[in-house]
Symmetry: C2
């Protein structure tokens, strides 16, 4: 019987190996880009910005400085130099106003805010700022309903994307020309990384870190935030 | 051979069933407390406070207002009325200074900060504030190395607790009288909820919400932050 049990386990092991899909091959990340210098990352902050959607990607991208040679410099850009109030009541003084002369911006991050789906979209100053910065940035990232802002600025034309789960229908209705994915943490298409948001807002930022600096850096940053990072365990779309 | 394989599976299945602990029974949450009024929640903010450890519990506790009759009122308390700068560079204006006359505080939350393990512990003004508020609060919560601050203020005496995974050894060495758990997201003992921190900082707050307002409210708050909440899937200790 012992021998049979051993054989049984052996058969199971071999069977598992044989039927395992070539997941790693299919989902293999490209070789990291390893940028030559520090990358500047601007986070848009307006009244009603959601805390988690602002700080989850900020923490991930900021912590790169401890895990790679250059890393990223993160800063906030708001409507003016006075404090804005987050949805949850944090009073945050932006590092820059969008009317200031700004450092060149490699990555533009647009967290969701209370009015991302309505009055913010009529703020032509804000939309113009997002359009002009986003056009020239290497990457644009949205968390939750920040996707509405990117879409309104015309930065998602021809790209696949996602947004906050409960707002998918509204997003599709407002921008019917876009291919909007449901049930995924994030979508990466060309230079746009759009995401579901909430506590999942760490995912798109860790993905960008892995894309730029490689898996070891992404795992190091993640560990510092008590995350066991493996992009293949995250539901996402890569075009 | 086929018979042996069948027997082997049967043995494995029976063995699994027999050794499975009665998890659900052991981990059943008590009936929710359903507080009669709004609860005031103070978040300690000092220079170097970590973003995630501040906002993850703040978002969870703040969002209770949308999912229960009363919910919580969250606010920040810092050393003065000028802005503090978080570890990741956010400039945050505290709602109150710890020298101000404060509303009565039901829950005191201590997020980790850059110097939670060293110079902050020598800040007698801060430790005295934590001690006096924590003594009278219904609950005290620490995220990550905020546990050092609670311990230094004498608020964890006789209680089991935890802290940031990489700082467990240092915590045990600094406070050898404490029972410190490793490999768990959070520990609840008496009125203290201490936690590992990082992206897991949502867990202790959702747990407190479930304890106070019940599972439906906790799941509602969690869903708004794209979390599928089930306390039984979280490694934790409840005394």
């Amino acid at each position: 019987m012992k021998y049979s049990v051993f054989l049984c386990f052996l058969t199971l092991c071999i069977s598992c190996q044989q039927t395992k899909p070539p997941q790693l091959e299919m989902n293999a990340m490209p070789h990291p880009i390893h940028p030559e210098g520090v990358l500047n990352v601007a986070f848009l902050v307006v009244d009603g910005v959601y805390n988690s959607e602002l700080v989850a990607p900020m923490d991930i991208l900021h912590h790169t400085v401890f895990h790679t040679e250059h890393g990223m410099k993160v800063f906030t850009v708001g409507p003016g130099n006075e404090y804005i109030t987050s949805f949850e009541g944090l009073k945050i003084i932006p590092d820059y106003s969008w009317n200031d002369s700004l450092p060149s911006i490699n990555v533009l991050v647009v967290p969701s805010a209370e009015n991302s789906m309505d009055s913010d979209l009529e703020n032509t100053q804000m939309i113009d700022f997002v359009k002009s910065i986003g056009k020239n940035a290497n990457y644009i990232m949205s968390l939750c309903d920040g996707a509405f802002v990117l879409a309104e600025a015309g930065l998602l034309e021809g790209l696949e994307c996602t947004t906050f789960p409960s707002d998918i229908a509204r997003f599709r209705s407002a921008y019917p020309q876009l291919v909007v994915h449901e049930g995924v943490s994030f979508v990466h298409d060309d230079k746009a990384i759009t995401s579901a948001g909430g506590a999942k807002s760490y995912d798109p930022a860790l993905y960008l870190v892995e894309l730029l600096y490689g898996n070891e850096t992404a795992r190091g940053v993640a560990k510092g935030l008590v995350i066991d990072w493996d992009v293949n365990t995250i539901d996402h779309v890569r075009k």
